[in-house]
Symmetry: C2
DNA sequence: TTCATGGTTCGACCTTAGTCGAAGCATCAA
DNA sequence: TTGATGCTTCGACTAAGGTCGAACCATGAA
């Protein structure tokens, strides 16, 4: 009743079904308009607008105006991180969203978590990079080693550009399906983008599923060998 | 509207002020009775009972009956982890619970997070153990190295007993105040217990504050040097 | 200007759920 | 048994907030 920040307010924001659906949709990492989010949540545009302004006020979203459209995306990694955590709790307590269809298997295999790769393949990538000393935990923060920097550059990722932005380069993020870490942060995002550029993988437009091509999966496992 | 676990339900559970207060109280790691939690939340016993059964049903709590008392504690590390994450979001968006009194400084310095040490001193301990190679990140999971095992045993922690329990030995947990990791899991708990046994530190009964004695703090910093 | 489209604001419903009083169990102690 | 304590269940009250229709802005295109 006295100590610590006000959990209840934030949690209540996430706790409404319509808003939760919107947030889940935004976990795809894409910025969506009010009408798209309304559709996603199954409510009219007015109510969606109301919900979105509340979420925004709560600091969970980042709004951007473009012409007469208003795009919303998650405010940052921390938000995505908490959402994944909640999904973990929900999944754990058997309260899965309806039955687990075929989609679910794909989601566990590879999905997009805000803007980086999550699921089975995400943790595989993370494990491999740890094993090879490309990344390491440095006092609670994840850091890119020199070898890792070389590795990323070799994969044609522009590290200098990433470093210029103030967003943290490496971050770890916990999966709800795997209960293990995967790579988040701007580097995590860059890797996923690169996979798409190389046509190794393609994001599903509607869901959070990341579909790897046969060849893409092969290249991926070659790149991210595990012990 | 279709994919992933049902966030809304869990979040709504946490989203009620009374329940949030109870959960925050349980972050102290202690098991509390229905009446104690009612007091903590500022509601009557009936409503507390109702809330607690909902939280229990949602898988957030672990109830235990002892005589005519019913004790509740958090269901596990994951729950505490998510709660800390929510605190981080709440703190970040300026929605701190009322004003930050003198208590708040103490909370940032050293506090109990579910059952282990968090706050400034918690991350210091974590950093030190990482630097000295006592713990390391092994494929997303935190692992105790041989040196670390020797270190813990030297500190008179019964590792064999801990290993017997099914709970994970090492876990990392993210602070809302520090935004850095600290050591959770049964080992994290054991360390805190040991600090208390040695009278280095004492938990405040009412809040989550961990008060280190002058000597305890000295010993602590000697033990957990940071490079 | 005029029209169309994307969002917001306002106001009025109405369901949901938190709240407590009162009564009912269960456990323990004489 | 009687009484006390801790908790649960029931029922009724009430307030909070999600929902949508309708009207209102704002932007862009003809």
């Amino acid at each position: 009743m006295k100590e610590g920040p006000d959990i209840a307010h934030v949690a209540a924001l996430i706790g409404d079904p319509a808003r939760a659906n919107m947030l889940t949709a935004l976990m795809s990492g894409k910025a969506l308009t009010v009408s798209e989010l309304a559709e996603e949540a199954g409510v009219t545009i007015q109510t969606a607008s109301s919900h979105l302004s509340k979420l925004d006020e709560g600091g969970l979203l980042r709004p951007r105006k473009q012409g007469r459209h208003k795009y919303f995306s998650l405010a940052g990694d921390e938000v995505a991180h908490v959402l994944e955590g909640l999904m973990g709790l929900a999944a754990g307590s058997g309260h899965v969203r309806k039955r687990t269809g075929p989609k679910d298997a794909e989601l566990r295999k590879a999905r997009v978590c805000y803007n980086h790769l999550a699921g089975d393949m995400g943790t595989q990538m993370f494990d491999s990079m740890m094993d090879n000393g490309h990344i390491m935990l440095d006092g609670g923060d994840l850091a890119l080693t020199d070898e890792g920097a070389a590795f990323a550059t070799g994969f044609e990722i522009d590290l200098d550009a990433l470093r210029k932005a103030r967003a943290p380069l490496c971050r770890e993020c916990l999966d709800w399906s795997e209960r293990r870490s995967h790579l988040a942060g701007s580097l995590g995002r860059a890797f996923l983008t690169r996979f798409e550029e190389l046509s190794w993988a393609k994001r599903d437009q509607k869901t959070r599923v990341v579909a790897f091509s046969r060849n893409g999966a092969k290249e991926f496992t070659r790149l991210f060998l595990v012990g």
